[in-house]
Amino acid sequence: MKNIFNISMVALLVLVSACDDFDKYELPEANSIPDATPPQALFTAIQSEEVDNDGWKDFYFSNGSISATTYAWDFGDGNTSSDYEPRNKFSEEGTYTVSLTASDNNGLSNTLTKKVLVEEPPAPPVTDPVLINTVFDKLGKSSGSDCTCAGWINRSLGTQGESSTGNGSDVMKFDNNEPDHIYQEFEVTPNANYQIEVEVSFKANAGKSNPSSLEFRVLAGTGYDTGYTPTYYTETTAFPQDGYGYSSVAQTEVEANNLMTKVLNNPDDTSYIKYILNFNSGANNSVALFVRGIGGLATGSSDNERYGYSSGDEEIRIDNLVITAL
């Protein structure tokens, strides 16, 4: 008898636990157990990349909602949709409040509201580069006396240009038989076309064996020394005068570093003549303009020997340098 009683107990226990299981697997419907996986609305608005027909007004709404079966979209412009992933064309620019209500078949729902900015993507701007002291006024430097060359000195590449007057204002002078130069770095938009305008006056041809020429180089920012990041100064007194950017004349002469090389020869006209030079910035967001007098000997003075070049027998003056994006 005792044995039988024990067996009954075991059977009873099994029944109770089986009842629990039965309840657990009851279909989730109204008035039943709670919906353990309520819907969650999630979406992303994706602007079309289409260029024509105001494609920027077209939006695709991707749906990442969880545990939902029906969807109600309100695009905030009067349009609605019940598609899983609808498209909507907005009529004009503006910020629209878009909402998605995701519902499941238990009557539960969840709403996500987002602000969607509809605007025409701006054309990538190509702005005129900013250079300092392009009219070559006599201004302060970080050290030394005021000079029209202020903002334009890199002592690794040459001796500083000289202050002078002419053309109705201060001008920059490249002395004869000296390695005078100007150098300045500026920011550009990659792969854009630029134009350099500059007014140049050569002294009358001296008729000697080494006539002067003026060489313009636009140097690639990728040619700067490794690890160097250019700083675009706004005051001439802030510019360093050495130890930045291009660090040797040889480096400026590497062909791959030159986006433009142009040599102006003496036009046998001493007036200020405007020249126009063009370059493309290529794979650079920074470039340097390097201008020097050439045609002379790399001997005759310690400076000439140090830099390995010099201007020829005539002085050259420049004024009013303007660089514009085309």
Binding site: L42, V51, S62, E85, P124, P190, G282, A283
Partner: protein, 472 residues
């Protein structure tokens, strides 16, 4: 009594130490993971092991890692370029943009490439045994491989588990999805190391500086860093690579001057060959034929391919209504009049899988210059674009390139090379193009189809840690 206690203590210690040595001896007659990678020669075996992982196994076992040999399923066959011939079975899920988490091919692919990550991390973990002179190069090679794999995985799955060291079996890190930005951060940092540490002396079947620069350029294009991309590409362009004069030679004259990085296979060797060349034909491989050309791609190639069309595809000799990919004909043989008769085992083909070639570099150069604009007429871009078209016999001078022109040129040039899906998504056209394609073939597309589901077996093993992508 005190003396006895002391003696017992000593005895106990003695027994423990001798037990450790006795129970865990370092085996001398077999290779053991614990003691391997003791010198650079062994580390180099670890390096080759990464490439072995990329190759994948050439067999039919569903337990093997097939890696690159099945990559076309998850890339090209999910695009508008190719489909299965029969439209049946697991393969057809890719055709119809209806991949399920239980699909065995994605489980194989996912498992294969995380195994390559493990192999790369193993090399990096044992860098200490490398000589100072070779260390940077070995590190660069491992980081290149790791970045290459993560770049593919992040584009296929989105946020993914990110492992940068060897982990144990119970480590949750293998299931925790990390933000896409974190994945790209590691990819960029790995490729920068690879560019710095590698040179171009490794040939085309192993990582080189040019390969790292080219791959990093593609990563930067994906991230919208156009200037960095352009600078890297121009560096590759000055590195002695050139387009093959004849388009066919790109694929059948291996290690030509156009190929920058390819995954190497050797013909006839069961352990080093591939079977995708056979699978692309009718009844040559294990399947009846997969990666067949869609009607959409066929019409596109006939209109835009130029000389490339007849090198890229042909009418199936047995089923003339079907079109086959022929860029990878087994060892270059066409299979005779029925397209399936070979006097060697075509399932042991030696065609390399090209990952990066010079035409891709030139077209990426155009993409970098175009940047966020919708078109370009920059001289440098036109020159690169024209080179690719000229080789295809399309010599009419191009004066302006739109984004659509560029995407079309990439489709024609790189057709069936597992680029199309990544390209349309990178160009922001994934939804438009696949949406329209789905309508044309009667399939159902949602933006969730741009990402693959995580394999159900991984979800299961993760005990709820690995979250599935939306829509699956």
């Amino acid at each position: 009594m005190k003396s006895i206690r002391i003696i017992i203590s000593v005895l106990v210690i003695f027994v423990f130490t001798s037990c450790e040595d006795y129970l865990e001896p370092v085996p001398t007659s077999v290779i053991s993971g614990a003691s391997f990678y003791a010198d650079e020669a062994q580390l180099m075996q670890g390096v080759y092991n990464m490439y072995d992982g990329l190759q994948g196994a050439n067999d039919t076992s569903s337990r093997s890692n097939h890696a690159t040999q099945i990559e076309f399923y998850v890339t090209e066959m999910r695009s508008d370029n190719t489909r299965s011939k029969s439209g049946e079975g697991e393969a057809a899920q890719f055709d119809n943009l209806a991949v399920e988490a239980t699909n065995g091919l994605i489980a194989d692919h996912y498992r294969s490439f995380y195994n390559v990550i493990f192999r790369a991390n193993t090399v990096l973990q044992n860098l200490g045994v490398a000589s100072e002179s070779n260390k940077a190069k070995i590190e660069g090679e491992a980081k290149f491989i790791r970045a290459y794999v993560y770049f593919n995985l992040v584009r296929l799955y989105g946020a993914i588990p990110l492992l940068d060291n060897v982990i144990g079996v119970n480590d949750d890190a293998s299931y925790v999805r990390r933000p896409v930005a974190d994945v790209y951060e590691l990819i960029v940092s790995d490729l920068n190391s690879a560019v710095a540490g590698l040179d171009n002396s490794n040939g085309r079947n192993r990582a080189t500086k040019a390969a790292a620069q080219g791959l990093l350029a593609k990563v930067h294009l994906t991230l919208g860093n156009y200037l960095e991309a352009q600078q890297l590409l121009e560096s590759v362009m000055s590195g002695g690579f050139a387009l093959e004069a004849n388009f066919r030679d790109v694929f059948f004259n291996e290690s030509n001057s156009e190929v920058i990085f390819s995954i190497g296979y050797s013909s006839g060797l069961a352990l080093d060959s591939q079977n995708f060349s056979a699978e692309f034909l009718n009844g040559v491989g294990r399947t009846v034929g997969v990666n067949y050309v869609t009607d959409d791609a066929k019409a596109f190639m006939e209109a835009n391919g130029g000389d490339r069309t007849v090198v890229s595809m042909r009418t199936d000799p047995i089923q003339p209504t079907q079109t086959q990919v022929i860029k990878f004909l087994p060892d270059g043989f066409d299979g005779g009049s029925d397209g399936k008769t070979f006097d060697f085992d075509a399932r042991l083909a030696g065609n390399d899988w090209i990952v990066l070639r010079y035409a891709d570099i030139l077209l990426m150069h155009v993409e970098a210059i175009m940047g966020s604009s919708s078109e370009t007429n920059a001289a440098a871009a036109l020159a690169s674009f024209q080179q690719v078209r000229d080789r295809a016999g399309l010599t009419d001078a191009v004066s302006s390139i739109s984004k659509d022109d560029l995407l079309a040129e990439r489709r024609a040039e790189l057709a069936f090379e597992n680029q199309r899906l990544y390209d349309i998504i990178r160009f922001g056209k994934g939804i438009d193009i696949l949406g329209a394609y789905a309508v044309a073939i009667g399939a159902n597309f949602t933006s969730n189809d741009l990402l693959l589901p995580f394999p159900q077996i991984e979800i299961g093993l993760s005990k709820g840690l690995l979250e599935q992508n939306p829509g699956y």
